[in-house]
């Protein structure tokens, strides 16, 4: 096995393990910390595909900013293992059946999929580099890029509107 392959399997195992730990751990703060580990493992995958920009953004935005917000919310709501609400047994069962069915469908869908050779990016690919990304963003996708500014503007106006005292 090459180094890339070893890294790939290591990161995949890490991601799945921490995701499971995130769901099962009873303390919300631990859950958040496991989730950060998931994000780091996925960022590692991005680096393996030579998508450096995506990896860094994933770390800064998700593992950084959003997780800090999560921790704040948990702190403000004073959640811990004791205050976890007890769910109905039937609700738990229904949830397990529903999500199990979804997983079955998705696994069945992904199992039959052959990876398109042209779509696969190796470590030497240049698609994920920031210069490539900038070029694509400001040529092919420039309309979508500009229009998403309206989205952020409205979100900003809304945040001020909700937060303002009157």
């Amino acid at each position: 096995m090459s180094t890339t392959e070893i890294l790939f399997w290591f990161l995949s195992a890490l991601a799945i393990l921490s995701a499971l730990m995130m769901v099962t751990s009873r303390n919300p703060v631990h859950s958040v910390l496991w989730l950060i580990l998931v994000f780091f493992a996925i960022s590692g995958h991005y680096i393996l595909m030579n998508a450096q920009f995506l990896a860094i953004v994933n770390m800064i935005v998700y593992a950084g900013a959003i997780m800090v917000l999560f921790l704040f919310v948990i702190m403000l709501m004073n959640m811990n293992a004791d205050t976890e609400p007890q769910k109905n047994k039937w609700m738990k069962m229904a949830g397990a059946v529903a999500s199990g069915s979804l997983m079955l469908v998705l696994v069945a869908a992904l199992r039959d999929t052959e990876l398109r050779s042209k779509g696969l990016e190796g470590a030497e690919g240049s698609i994920g580099l920031i210069s490539q990304l900038g070029k694509v963003l400001f040529t092919d996708y420039v309309v979508a890029f500009e229009l998403s500014s309206v989205l952020f503007l409205s979100a900003m106006v809304g945040a001020v509107l909700i937060g303002k005292k009157n």
Partner: protein, 457 residues
């Protein structure tokens, strides 16, 4: 593209209007000027005048069908601004910002009316819904409004997540975001495509509140300040439907047999649940929320049939439903009591308003000579022409009959029951605009071709 750019710019103009003047009447006037300009801009694009030449690289297409839909929505918004705009100041102080958010929503409406790639669909849907979360929660001191905002936000983001997952799977299967690239016919159906299709279907059903994904609708519509419920239940809902139809026609039209049964089941469930639950409501506002689910069931028939009758019918339906619902909500906002009893004896004190309300309610029920009749007629004909599942048409007709019960309950309260005068404030402009809306409803009911002929312009 004219309308998209102008509505985004006018949203910014509205924010500055709030800085320049604190008088809410001026805000209303500016918003009405904006929406008239927007309608003119869409019209100019319709006759071939472009303000800007932009290389869209095929991400949007402004066909007559999309532009007619945009114009219908802008005219409905104009009526909404004139009727309900003055009531916005009862919600909070930032009236100009509410108007700004509504203009941003209209940007989203224009984008989803014209998208050709899943990327633009996503951006359009998000621009359409994010301002709405804020409008739902805008009555900050009211706990129900806060609950509505949070519920809508959680449900909305959750369904957006499903949509993104579906888009990712479709991208994995086809390597493109363009709807034309996805629409390859039955030969190209892979498990990945099907999974993506189902996820997109679920998320769009969430957005248009089709059963079984409708649970958020009554609470959100009930808790949101009534002025904004009116906008949310009409223009935004119709636009989401338009996006739903465009998506499934352009991206999955050639696999129609693959998903037709699924849509038929959703349609039947939406019709049954919406109509039957509406019968048991005590509050007219909540009844209208369920009625909006029921009407969504009828609009789903266009998606089920996916033929030109259905496509024409959807525009007519959107116009008929939006006009009538905006009119009813405009009166409802000014009522003190939202229950059926609140309408008791309205015809004695406000005879003009009662007659107008009756026209709107008859249109929603689908009585001939109103726009609602032809709208429902087109939908049923479309489903019949499709010819596959006759039982669905029977369910739809039965549900239309059930709907007459709860719409007529309001009429009965107004005309045949005694009640005290609640002293509603009405003005000349308000009454005149209601009359215009009612005339439009009747005109479309007599001669729907006035609207539909535009499609073949």
């Amino acid at each position: 593209m004219n309308a998209i750019i102008l509505s985004a710019l006018w949203g910014v103009v509205m924010m500055y209007t709030g800085v320049v003047t604190r008088n809410t009447r001026n805000h209303g006037v500016m918003a009405i000027i904006g929406i008239i300009l927007l309608t003119i801009a869409a019209w100019l694009e319709f006759v071939g005048v472009q303000f800007f030449s932009i290389n869209l690289s095929g991400m949007m297409s402004f066909a007559p069908y999309s532009l007619v839909f945009m114009m219908v929505m802008f005219v409905c918004t104009l009526l909404y601004f004139i009727l309900s705009g003055p009531d916005m100041k009862d919600v909070g102080d930032q009236v100009s910002d509410y108007y700004a958010l509504i203009f941003f929503v209209l940007t989203g409406v224009s984008i989803v009316a014209a998208f050709k790639t899943l990327l633009m669909l996503f951006i359009g849907i998000e621009i359409m819904t994010i301002p709405l979360y804020i409008l739902a929660a805008s009555d900050k001191r009211n706990l129900k409004s806060n609950e509505a905002g949070l519920k809508y936000f959680l449900m909305g983001t959750f369904s957006t997540g499903l949509m993104l997952m579906g888009i990712a799977l479709l991208y994995g299967a086809h390597g493109t975001f363009f709807t034309d690239g996805i629409n390859l016919g039955m030969a190209a159906v892979s498990p990945l495509t099907t999974a993506g299709l189902v996820l997109l279907m679920i998320s769009m059903a969430f957005k248009v509140s089709a059963a079984p994904f409708h649970f958020w609708t009554p609470d959100v519509y009930d808790g949101t300040p009534t002025v904004f419920t009116s906008f949310m239940a009409t223009i935004v809902k119709a636009a989401a439907f338009f996006a739903f139809l465009r998506l499934f026609e352009n991206a999955f039209g050639k696999m129609h047999v693959q998903w037709q049964l699924l849509i038929a089941i959703i349609t039947a469930a939406t019709l049954l649940i919406g109509n039957i639950t509406a019968v048991f409501q005590q509050s007219v506002k909540r009844m209208l929320a369920y009625s909006s689910i029921a009407q969504a069931g009828f609009m789903m028939l266009a998606l089920f049939a996916l033929n030109s009758t259905g496509k024409q019918g959807l525009i007519l339906y959107a116009a008929a439903y939006s006009l009538a619902t905006i009119g009813i909500f405009a009166v409802l906002v000014r009522m003190k009591d939202y229950t059926f009893e609140g309408f008791n004896g309205l015809s004695k004190h406000e005879p003009f308003l009662s007659v107008m309300l009756t026209v709107f309610l008859l249109s929603l029920a689908g009585i001939p000579l109103t726009a609602g009749f032809f709208a429902k007629y087109y939908m049923l004909v479309a489903a019949l022409k499709n010819g596959n599942m006759f039982w669905l048409v029977i369910v739809a007709v039965l549900c239309a009959a059930v709907s007459i019960y709860y719409y007529f309950k309001v009429i009965q309260s107004m005309f045949f029951k005694e009640g005290a005068n609640t002293g509603m404030r009405t003005g000349g402009v308000f009454k005149a605009t209601l009359l215009v809306a009612a005339i439009l409803v009747i005109a479309l009911g007599i001669h729907p071709d006035w609207l539909l002929n535009l499609l073949t312009y």
